[in-house]
């Protein structure tokens, strides 16, 4: 019993992760309550932007965990992949829900055709929707039961998170008007993270890190 209790205790890193991941939502609610100008005047657009930004950042952070462990040997972050991924899904779900209401409510009635058109007729929306479907699938299967049932396939399925990352970045690139610097930063980070997952690269990085630490240890013990 005591052992189990210890296992359930959250590390500071986990607490920071949960608080940080909830911050955009709290901030949105706070700004709405405070009457921040854009949220006051065009609330749907602003809330869509903000939740979309939160979703992509959290997805990038979730994808960053494995490369961070590869490069720095910092195992603690591996446990953050799941919560960060689920928070990314949560924001994507809010983002998509706002999109549905925003596009569907025309002349005071819900127009599902308008939602269909808005989602499937424009490429930026379509790739965003595809990213959402991937995240939804992964969120549904992010439990012990699914892991046990799917066995080997679970890992294969959850590799699609990379696809979600790529789709999300394309969604962002296709969305902006002209200045694509910001989405390109996400694209560059994503590329670096994906390269670090190539088995040969990963092995080389891990070997280099281990050699370095061995050499450091040897140096400290000899002095």
């Amino acid at each position: 019993m005591a052992k189990r209790k210890a296992k359930n205790r959250w590390t500071p890193l986990q607490i920071i992760t949960h608080l940080g991941a909830l911050f955009p939502l709290v901030w949105l609610a706070w700004d709405f309550w405070q009457g921040q100008t854009a949220l006051l005047i065009n609330p749907f657009q602003e809330a869509t932007f903000r939740t979309g930004k939160a979703a992509i950042i959290l997805l990038m952070l979730s994808l960053a965990c494995t490369p961070i462990n590869t490069v720095f040997g910092f195992k603690q972050v591996l446990a953050l992949r799941k919560p960060l991924g689920l928070y990314a899904f949560m924001y994507a779900a809010i983002h998509f829900s706002i999109f549905i209401v925003d596009n569907g409510l025309v002349s005071n009635s819900l127009n599902l055709w308008a939602v269909y058109e808005a989602t499937f007729e424009k490429r930026y929306a379509l790739v965003g929707f595809a990213a959402f479907v991937v995240l939804l699938t992964l969120a549904i299967t992010s439990n012990q039961w699914s892991m046990r049932t799917l066995r080997k396939n679970w890992k294969r399925l959850h590799r699609f998170v990379y696809a979600a990352g790529v789709l999300a970045v394309i969604h962002f690139v296709w969305l902006v008007k002209s200045d694509i610097r910001e989405p390109l930063i996400y694209g560059a980070l994503l590329t670096i993270m994906l390269v670090l997952r190539i088995p040969a690269v990963r092995k080389w990085v891990v070997n280099t890190r281990q050699n370095l630490s061995r050499r450091r240890q040897a140096a400290t013990s000899s002095s």
């Binding site: 709405f32 854009a38 005047i41």
Partner: protein, 320 residues
């Protein structure tokens, strides 16, 4: 934000107060929208209308509270705090703050090119020489949101008649002030500054093509394109170029800033057209600022009777 102490010191008190009233008004509006939407209730323009009146300080003047279609005026606070003006910033709610203190006097507007009688007008001339009338027009942004704004100004054709275009003149080319020190957004190399816009001469001669010097009975504020801007109500908002320093009659179709930035997305004509989608989003509906749901977008923004003749026989899909 308007609540900052230093900004309230700079801003004349009545404007500052009107902003606060607007905030309070629309804040309760947003809150009630959230509640009403949960009940599936209608959230209409009557609520925003009463707010427009509540937010109308004594110095704002309007002769009507709706446009000719019965659509309520967009509150002054929204018109002056939610602006697309990339010369200041690409953040719509950030323009008003950055534009505060932008010097619009002295200001001169050079009108020349293919004309018999080139002239340079002082902004004071433009405000007094031409009879200023109130014109309540819908403004439809290409980003699919819209407002109803009571402009103050006169027809562009009046200036053109003064300078007498020659027979060679086919187009009118407009240019915004270029001064990166005062317009910090012009340091961005993503756009080909200065902002350029253009109209075909017959479009420019249409009485709806308006040169605005004010709105809500006051001089334009910097965020709205002070001191002198174009208003072309049947075209997407980006055609209505702000803070103009030069008007030129030319024989070739001018290339606007947006045509240069994204030729496949922004054309010369840019007439409001629900049937021709933007490559990245639909133009069939729009969000009227202050309303909860969207509404259908009207061809030529509802001004078809006045302007459709200009485009007879033209393929509006090809000439977007």
């Amino acid at each position: 934000m308007a609540t900052k102490i230093n900004s309230s010191e700079i801003t004349p008190e009545h404007i500052y107060l009107s902003r606060r009233k607007f905030m309070i008004g629309i804040g309760s509006l947003a809150a009630s929208a959230a509640v009403l939407s949960a009940c599936g209730n209608q959230f209409g323009s009557t609520a925003s209308g009463s707010n427009a009146q509540a937010a109308l300080p004594d110095d704002l003047k309007v002769s009507a509270t709706t446009d000719e279609l019965g659509d309520e005026l967009t509150p002054f606070g929204a018109v002056t705090s939610y602006n697309n003006f990339y010369e200041f910033t690409t953040t719509k709610e950030g323009v008003a703050g950055l534009a505060e203190g932008f010097k619009t006097s002295p200001w001169q507007v050079e009108v020349g090119g293919l004309v018999n009688n080139p002239k340079t007008f002082d902004i004071d001339d433009l405000r007094t020489k031409f009879a200023q009338e109130e014109r309540i027009y819908r403004l439809r942004c290409v980003e699919a949101w819209s407002m109803v704004i009571p402009w103050l100004g006169f027809s562009l054709s009046e200036i053109l008649k003064e300078v007498e275009p020659t027979a060679q003149a086919k187009y009118v080319r407009f240019e915004t002030l270029y001064d990166p020190d005062r317009l910090p957004g012009q340091s961005s190399r993503w756009y080909n500054w200065p902002y350029i816009e253009g109209l075909r001469l017959d479009e420019a001669m249409n009485p709806l093509a308006t040169m605005a010097t004010g709105l809500y009975g006051k001089h334009l504020l910097p965020q709205n394109g002070a001191p002198f801007r174009l208003v072309v109500p049947w075209k997407y908002g980006f055609k209505s170029i702000k803070s103009i320093v030069k008007i030129e009659l030319v024989d070739k179709m001018p290339v606007s800033l947006w045509m240069a930035a994204a030729p496949n997305e922004y054309g010369f004509y840019a007439n409001v057209n629900p049937d021709v989608p933007h490559p990245r989003w639909s133009q069939a509906t729009e969000r009227r600022i202050g309303e909860f749901g969207r509404r259908d977008t009207l061809p030529f923004n509802g001004y078809g009777d006045e302007v459709a003749y200009l485009y007879e026989g033209m393929n509006l899909r090809a000439n977007f």
